[in-house]
């Protein structure tokens, strides 16, 4: 699937998000935001790279699930809404 990138500010939030999504079958990678002069400023992102055992879901469904999980965990996503 095409990677989906969500900006989550700090590296701690990125790793919290990664742990949470992995526990829910969503694979991610953590990286540094590449547009520090943008509205989000410096920070980290998680990139959804795939899912485990969820082959029937579309990328949009996976993203929606990820955003729902992150919102419930109070992990702010800057560009995902």
């Amino acid at each position: 699937m095409e990677p989906i990138t969500l900006n989550v500010s700090s590296v701690t939030n990125a790793m919290r998000a990664q742990t949470l999504l992995r526990q829910n079958g969503i694979r991610t990678a953590v990286g540094r935001v590449s547009d520090p002069g943008g509205s989000s400023g410096c920070g980290y992102h998680i990139t959804i790279t795939g899912s485990i055992g969820l082959g029937q879901e579309t990328p949009e469904q996976i993203q929606e699930k990820a955003l729902r999980l992150l919102k419930a965990a109070e992990i702010k996503v800057r560009n995902g809404e």
Partner: protein, 386 residues
């Protein structure tokens, strides 16, 4: 050396801790949470793993509530000064270390903004009633030690946290002498802020500590502002924990060592702590049998006291006894232990005491040697006065 100054800092450190620190200096030497290169991300991952380990150890639901500090004192300063920044008062015990008393004193240039509740050793309901009597409409928090660093007296922090909750107050606990030695469950007790050193009962390196924040952590303003690796465009500290309270570079190698310490302490299990306390109780009984030795507390017991024992020898200054012990290769601490309130409570403010504080590595043979030297000092004093 027989090292009985573990209430100050534990020594030796377990091999796993020393190895973790050394490895971190090589493998995780970048600054976590700043750059995006491989080593920086690896360092950030190790730091996060320690947050996870600490959150699990103290039953804190969210690892983001684990804020790394230089030590327990720094954690207490963040909590106390954050809670009382805009006014209000705190209730503290008469056993507090200066790491609680001095920040409150600094906030009180005029009249004190704290009220002191008398601890009744062995009578938890009476202690709680004394705290309750000190609460006023201006009180915002109960701030108290879990156990006295000078005398080992344990406070009923679960009951005090319940009192705080019923009274609409925040609960701040100084876990300097109990973290890693007695169970502290933030989830069950409802403690809002738990301040712990990494370098005592958690057997991590000096230069590590933690402020563990429950849900009230989001209300705490930072004590220090600076770089966090996040939102560099914004002049304010980031809103989210832990970065809001962690300006500047973290002690990555220390944090890796702290994680190893948390794991090592978990592996030792409760039986190691119980064994340590049984040995200390045996030492207590040995000391009780020496003429001229004064002890101010009851027999140490797991759960009822921290692993410290204070005493004096009649006719000998505490520092003199400590110096004599040092000549025999025994390390202890003498004086007021940065805890004048506790010494006032036990009537030793003029003399101080000699404090013995073992670790998991202390063995009965260590106590036997101490006993022989103390007996010799006491006997000489009795002979002189006779």
């Amino acid at each position: 050396m027989i090292y009985l100054d573990n209430a100050a800092t534990t020594w030796p450190k377990p091999y796993d801790v020393r190895r973790a620190v050394a490895e971190a200096m090589v493998l995780y030497g970048a600054n976590p949470g700043r750059s995006g290169h491989r080593m920086a991300m690896a360092a950030a991952r190790e730091v996060y793993r320690c947050r996870e380990a600490a959150a699990a150890f103290f039953s804190l639901p969210d690892p983001a509530g684990v804020v790394f500090t230089a030590n327990c004192t720094a954690a207490l300063n963040i909590a106390i000064k954050g809670i009382l920044r805009d006014g209000g008062r705190a209730v503290i015990s008469d056993m507090e270390h200066n790491s609680v008393l001095r920040p409150l004193h600094a906030l009180s240039p005029g009249a004190p903004r704290y009220d002191i509740a008398r601890v009744v050793p062995g009578d938890d309901p009476a202690t709680v009633r004394n705290f309750e009597r000190m609460i006023t409409p201006e009180t915002r928090a109960i701030v108290c030690t879990h156990a006295s660093n000078a005398f080992g007296t344990v406070l009923p922090i679960a009951d005090l946290a319940d009192l705080a909750r019923r009274s609409g107050l925040l609960m701040v606990v100084d876990g300097a002498q109990t973290a890693g030695m007695l169970p502290i469950d933030m989830g069950r007790t409802g403690i809002d802020f738990l301040c712990v050193p990494g370098h005592k009962g958690l057997y991590g390196p000096a230069g590590t500590g933690m402020l563990l924040c429950g849900s009230a952590g989001k209300l705490l303003p930072p004590l220090t502002e600076g770089g966090t690796g996040v939102n560099s465009l914004a002049p304010d500290q980031p809103e989210e924990l832990p970065e809001r309270l962690e300006a500047g570079t973290l002690n990555t190698a220390g944090i890796c060592g702290l994680r190893a310490g948390l794991r090592w302490v978990s592996e030792q299990g409760e039986q190691a702590g119980r064994r340590k306390m049984r040995q200390l109780a045996e030492f207590y009984r040995m000391m009780r049998g020496v003429p001229g030795v004064s002890i101010y507390t009851g027999e140490p017991a797991y759960g009822a006291s921290a692993a410290v024992l204070s005493l004096n020898i009649a006719g000998q200054a505490a520092e003199t006894v400590a110096a004599e012990l040092d000549r025999h290769g025994i390390a202890v601490r003498a004086g007021l232990h940065c805890a004048p309130l506790a010494h006032r409570h036990y009537g030793t403010i003029q003399t101080g005491t000699v404090r013995f504080s073992p670790s998991i590595f202390t063995v009965p043979e260590d106590y036997q040697k101490v006993y022989e030297i103390i007996r010799g000092i006491a006997a000489k004093t009795v002979a002189k006065s006779g």
